[in-house]
Symmetry: C2
Subunit: 132 residues, 2 copies
DNA sequence: AGATCTATTGACTTTAACGTAAAAAGGCGG
DNA sequence: CCGCCTTTTTACGTTAAAGTCAATAGATCT
């Protein structure tokens, strides 16, 4: 098993540029080790990158993604901090649930459009019952 | 029932600025009527605005949203156009389904973090079995 | 009509998230 | 050691999506 990934390996795997990865690093989203000046990414770093990209797909900003990822590692000692963490979790969950509803609605609407389109196609080129 | 909405009514309802609505108009996402220079939004316009904001919440760009909304009104006559429409629908559906999976994963991870946090709280302030 | 509000337009600015280009620094094959 | 290649740094450019500001232009209240 490979201990480290190079930057180009990861850019190829995730179809992003080196600029992007270095930018994420500058924003404090990943902190690969160095061998001299060269970056070495651990499997953990790779996972974080996956999480970043997933967050982006969901429309979160990098700042939001950073906060989200920050939660994963943290088991803060103080009760106050824990309460704060729980609140953040609740807030994120609400957002995600809203997005789920948004998606459901959009999928339903797409279905309607599709049904309409199918009906139009039937109209235009009748039965063709032998296809499929 | 109200036939028209003013721009400020809509900005208040959706918690956006007038600048935003005029920008959407400049991008061809809504085309309110005019009474003199004043904009008058129909219930249909209002619905489009809702769709725009929903698309944005899901991380779509305005250009993508425009394409999406464009599908709703269209029942193109030509078979070729219909086929194209169906393909677009399929593509959007794929994206949305991926987002659904992304959300599921994120929710699961949040649950884990929450469970960890809860455990830590138990540790710190024991039982308190009378609460709730 | 005058004063005051609100809406519109146009120009310029801002922010996030990179892209692009140039220069320097290692690493490697011959 | 030399030339070549990749990586890194630094700096500046770009794009989408508005924000901000100033100058009108109507509309409204009195």
């Amino acid at each position: 098993m490979q201990r480290y990934f190079t930057i180009t390996q990861l850019t190829q795997e995730f179809d992003i540029t080196t600029r992007t990865l270095r930018f994420y690093e500058a924003q404090g989203l990943v902190t690969p080790q160095r061998r001299g000046r060269q970056r070495l990414y651990t499997p953990g770093d790779r996972t974080r990158i996956k999480l970043i990209l997933r967050g982006k797909r969901l429309g979160f900003s990098l700042a939001e993604v950073k906060e989200l990822i920050g939660m994963y590692g943290s088991a803060p000692g103080e009760t106050g901090q824990l309460r704060l963490l729980m609140e953040k979790i609740a807030a994120r969950r609400e957002e995600l649930l809203e997005k789920q509803r948004d998606i459901e609605l959009t999928l339903l609407e797409l279905e309607e459009v599709e049904a309409g389109a199918l009906a139009r196609m039937e109209e235009l080129s009748p039965v063709t019952s032998e296809e499929r």
